[in-house]
């Protein structure tokens, strides 16, 4: 029945978070002319173990060839497919401060399937401003400008405005929220919420620095943990690029 791909059961969250990393690496290798990758090489470049790479990729179906490795281009396609990057995801960003702008401008963030359809703020100084082809409006002006339902809402407001933003986004049909504000959101259970709390990241780092915890080099969301990798002992020439 099914065309082939997508093995069967659900893919564990840590695996889902690692797949985009493998994809990025595979894409880069393909770009530089390497057509096949081994789990070993992928592991070294992603900072994980080879066994983990194989278990992770096995969730995509029989993607590799024994004795040879994985086809880089096919890997990229396969991962795009399970991540849903091929679909169309209308995105609204609420809160056009520095963080909101960073998200709008970051290369690779609003790429491929993630289509910006609205920018919301309340600061009179930036209302009406045009950014990246979109005019910043208040929430009540947004519906008139939207052709489709919102799929993903990004909350880049101060904590005090986050819950309201979430309510409005849900009302606009957003089924998924990405919240950068340091607050826990109250949402109906069917809404997927993902939190990125920058101050927590710092605190986790300082905690592990304090306790000198050996496995502290863990990933935030991605679950990666670059273990003692080939490290060039501090580049010779010191011309800081930023």
């Amino acid at each position: 029945m099914a065309p082939e791909r997508q093995r069967s059961g659900v893919i564990p969250e840590p695996t889902v978070a690692r797949l985009p990393i493998y994809q990025r690496i595979a894409a880069e290798l393909a770009r530089t002319g390497q057509s096949t990758v081994s789990s070993e090489q992928l592991a070294a470049l992603a900072g994980v173990t080879a066994a983990k790479v194989r278990k992770d990729l096995a969730h995509l179906g029989q993607l590799g060839t024994r004795g040879t490795g994985y086809d880089a281009a096919q890997l990229v396609r396969g991962i795009s497919e399970v991540m849903g990057v091929d679909q169309d995801w209308p995105v609204v960003i609420v809160g056009i401060g520095n963080l909101g702008r960073a998200l709008i401008n970051a290369r690779g963030f609003l790429a491929r399937g993630y289509r910006l359809v609205g920018l919301v703020d309340t600061d009179p100084r930036i209302l009406g401003t045009e950014i990246s082809g979109h005019t910043v409006v208040r929430f009540d002006e947004l519906p008139a400008r939207l052709a489709d339902k919102v799929a993903i809402g990004i909350i880049a407001t101060p904590a005090s405005a986050a819950q309201d933003a979430a309510d409005q986004l849900v009302a606009l049909g957003a089924g998924s929220l990405l919240n950068f504000a340091p607050t826990v959101l109250m949402t109906p259970p069917q809404i997927r919420v993902r939190y990125v709390d920058l101050s927590i990241e710092l605190q986790v780092l300082s905690h592990f620095a304090l306790t000198d915890h050996p496995d502290a080099g863990a990933m935030s969301s991605v679950g990666i943990q670059p273990i003692g990798l080939p490290w060039t002992p501090a580049a010779e020439e010191r011309g800081a690029r930023s």
Copy 2:
């Protein structure tokens, strides 16, 4: 011997990532005059289960009182202590684009123990600019301006510059790195690296939206998962604050 606190073994990473959330809630409750909190209430506000709250807090030692709950103020102090927020953590930010500025300005990010000591970039247009009391300089000018070793380096550069930034930060003594660039860093094994990859967050959301995965409402780094909480069915009055 030991004054009391800090039970014994290491605190599991998921717990460490949740502690700041409990702290925020406890601080807010204390501020509004509530002196004690139950694990139940904390759980409801943090979007986790009460059992998890108790297990988590048990790592801080005997902090609660049976039959009563936890003392809010004491909770705040206890968590500050294990997170290392009381210590002094000199921070350098590399990459003063929108993201870097967002981090500099975000309330609650560079608070308490996290002390900004340097801003690095290479763009001639912003070199020499004064932001938040710090002049943006190139890496080679930084050592002359630093009184202390760097503890935490924040990488907010494009991916192409991230590895170089990491090398330089390590050379300046940074033992912990927070990397926002979409790259895996090669660092000596004793360096703690934490990754926040914004594009991965979006992809994880779309994947779970696609597969309609029931427990998709997971936290990025924090491991929180707000489960069907008391949800006010979309605020009545629609005045979007951003």
